[in-house]
Each structure stands twice: as structure tokens, then as C-alpha cells.
């Protein structure tokens, strides 16, 4: 492993940029993501920064039960994120549609049909600690030796 790669690994382990997108949720999970930013959970102490610009993001948090209007737009957002990138489904809705997955409801879960989902955080809503753990567990596997893995 080159020294440059080592420096990159160290720097990136404390610089995870997160964007979140709400594809039709009830706002419960949005509030839990917001709680991560608050002093009690404080995700910035782990070097995680929340942007709402996909072009700056490494991690995309997908929240909500996927309404049909989002089908093409979510793919656009996913393509705008620069490599290396990863998407995490937050809550039950992107996984199964949760309580909205009934007859005559205009939703098309799961989100994994449209963009590749690397991790799922079940719960309605999930605890902020569960969201944090998912991001922190996924980030090293994504960033460590990214350039070396790409060359292979």
C-alpha cells in the first residue's frame, strides 16, 4: 500500500459526506436522521457531514416508500453522486413499504429495484444509533484502499 493511499484512508475515515433523499416518507425517519445531528448523538464527532447536494456526497440515505414520481428522479440523483458511492435504505419503507404497502396505495417499494442498496436499517423509525452504526460500519468497506481496488 502506497503512502498516498494510507493518507487518503486516514483522511477519508473522518470525512464521510452524507446526502439524504426523502422519496415519500411520513417524516418519522427524517426526524431520526435529524436527531443524529443534534448534540445527543452528534454525528459530526465521527466526521460525518450532512449535505443536501448529491455531487458532494459519498453516502446516500434513502428514506421513504418510493412514490412513482420518484422512480426516474432517484436514479438521476444516484448518477450525480461521484464514485465511490453507496446507498443506505433508512427505515422499513424503502425495504418493504411498511404500513403503506396495501391495496390502492401509490408506492413502488423496494428501493433496491431502482438503485443498488448496500445496507438496510429496518425500524419504523430506526433509532439514531442504528443509523449511525450503519454508516460507520459501511464507510470503511467503501473507502479503504479505494484507488487500489479500482485498479485491479
Amino acid at each position: 500500500m502506497s503512502i498516498l493511499q494510507k493518507i487518503k484512508n486516514t483522511v477519508r475515515s473522518r470525512s464521510i459526506h452524507v446526502a439524504y433523499v426523502d422519496v415519500g416518507s411520513c417524516n418519522g425517519c427524517d426526524i431520526e436522521v435529524l436527531a443524529c445531528l443534534a448534540p445527543r448523538y452528534d454525528i459530526e464527532q465521527y466526521g460525518i457531514y450532512v449535505h443536501n447536494n448529491p455531487r458532494e456526497a459519498d453516502v446516500l440515505l434513502v428514506i421513504g416508500s418510493m412514490t412513482p414520481q420518484w422512480v426516474d428522479k432517484l436514479q438521476d440523483i444516484w448518477e450525480k453522486i461521484p464514485e465511490p458511492k453507496v446507498a443506505i435504505a433508512i427505515g422499513n419503507c424503502p425495504i418493504s413499504g411498511c404500513v403503506f404497502n396495501r391495496w390502492h396505495s401509490y408506492i413502488e417499494p423496494p428501493v433496491a429495484k431502482y438503485i443498488p442498496i448496500a445496507a438496510q436499517v429496518p425500524g419504523c423509525p430506526p433509532r439514531p444509533t442504528e443509523i449511525l452504526n450503519a454508516i460507520l460500519a459501511l464507510a470503511p468497506t467503501l473507502f479503504n484502499d479505494y484507488e487500489e481496488k479500482k485498479q485491479k
Binding site: 422499513n92 418493504s96 411498511c98 404497502n101 396495501r102 438496510q120 419504523c124 433509532r127
Partner: protein, 201 residues
């Protein structure tokens, strides 16, 4: 003036202060023991009454499955919303989650359920299929047939005076055979649940 600057410098050059300032971390977060997490089995035997499946508000969250020699409720993550209603509804305390069982015992609360039959008279065409197909009606009045009229008053519902009359709603077992056999979807079986608390608790 100068003393206050010195005081500030002394205060901010303390190692203790610098360490807490530069390496600030919140206390490691532990899940409190009363957190209502996904229901876990207590070890009591499941009798497959399906009360948990019937009360569950999330589609596909709980299934009572038959294993080789016993029944067991299975919680599906990604569907379960951790409301704890299955824990509360179970008469055998097969599942536990947080303080749901303790609260149920301390407050002497329970869930009572019954079935409500509603017939939409604008859709009903008085064919009597509901009364004829009902298995409870068949027990109460074996002679009930074809038109849905019956001489007995012990049946759940019968055709009387040209329309369906629901007589003994409390006998309904919720099998929904009438609903499935109604050509116009005029009859509806709804399961009603009510939280009750024993007096004096």
C-alpha cells in the same frame, strides 16, 4: 484587564480543558433496557391462535409458522414497526418486548375483540348467499337453504322482509365466508378491538 487575560490563558491552557476540547465525544450510547425492540420469544408455548397476526398493523410483519412439533411466531424485520401490539395481544405471553408485558400485568389491561357485520343495502340484492354459506348458520339451522330465509332466530343473519337482518352478531367467528360468497361485496366483516382495564386496578 490584564489579570483577566492571564486568567483566561491559564484556564484554556489546562491539559484537561484542551483534551476535552479537541477530542470531544458524547458518552457511548447504550440501548436502555426498557426500549421496545423487536419482540423476542419468552419460551412459552404458542397455541397458534393468531391473535398476534390479526392485531398486527404492518403488512407481512408477523407470521405464526409450524415447525416440526410446535408453532412459533416469526417477526420479519423491514416490516415490523415495533409497536408491541402482538406482545400485548398474545394470551400466552409467547413474546416479550421492553416493558409491554410488565405494564399489561401491572395495569390489568387486556384486548377484547369481536366481529361487526355491516350490510350495504344499496349494494345488497337479497340473494341470501351470506346466510346460506355461513358455517355457523348451518350449525344453528340445518334447514336453512337456497333463499336465506330461516324459521329459527338462532342464526347470525337471515333474509327477513326482503332484506338481510343481522340477528346474532356475537356468534360470528370471523371466517369471512359470507364476504367471499357475496356477489356484490355488500356484506363486510370487520374485526373490532377494544382495550379494556379491569376495575379496581
Amino acid at each position: 484587564m490584564s489579570t483577566s487575560i492571564i486568567w483566561y490563558l491559564r484556564e484554556f491552557l489546562r491539559m484537561e480543558w484542551l483534551r476535552t476540547f479537541l477530542f470531544a465525544k458524547t458518552a457511548p450510547l447504550v440501548t436502555p433496557p426498557y426500549f421496545k425492540d423487536y419482540p423476542l420469544p419468552t419460551g412459552n408455548e404458542c397455541t397458534a391462535c393468531y391473535n398476534c397476526m390479526m392485531i398486527c398493523p404492518a403488512p407481512g410483519a408477523i407470521e405464526v409458522l409450524r415447525h416440526t412439533d410446535h408453532w412459533k411466531p416469526m417477526i420479519h424485520r423491514g416490516h415490523c414497526i415495533r409497536c408491541g401490539l402482538c406482545v400485548e395481544a398474545c394470551p400466552e405471553d409467547v413474546l416479550w418486548s421492553g416493558r409491554v408485558l410488565d405494564a399489561k400485568r401491572n395495569d390489568a389491561t387486556d384486548l377484547r375483540s369481536w366481529y361487526r357485520l355491516t350490510v350495504d343495502d344499496t349494494l345488497c340484492m337479497r340473494c341470501g348467499n351470506c346466510a346460506v354459506s355461513c358455517p355457523v348458520n348451518k350449525q344453528a339451522d340445518p334447514s336453512l337453504a337456497s333463499t336465506g330465509t330461516a324459521s329459527s332466530d338462532e342464526v347470525i343473519m337471515k333474509i327477513e322482509g326482503g332484506r338481510v337482518r343481522v340477528i346474532h352478531e356475537e356468534k360470528c367467528t370471523g371466517c369471512k365466508t359470507c364476504e367471499n360468497n357475496c356477489p356484490n361485496k355488500a356484506i363486510r366483516v370487520a374485526r373490532m378491538v377494544e382495550g379494556i382495564q379491569e376495575r379496581g386496578a
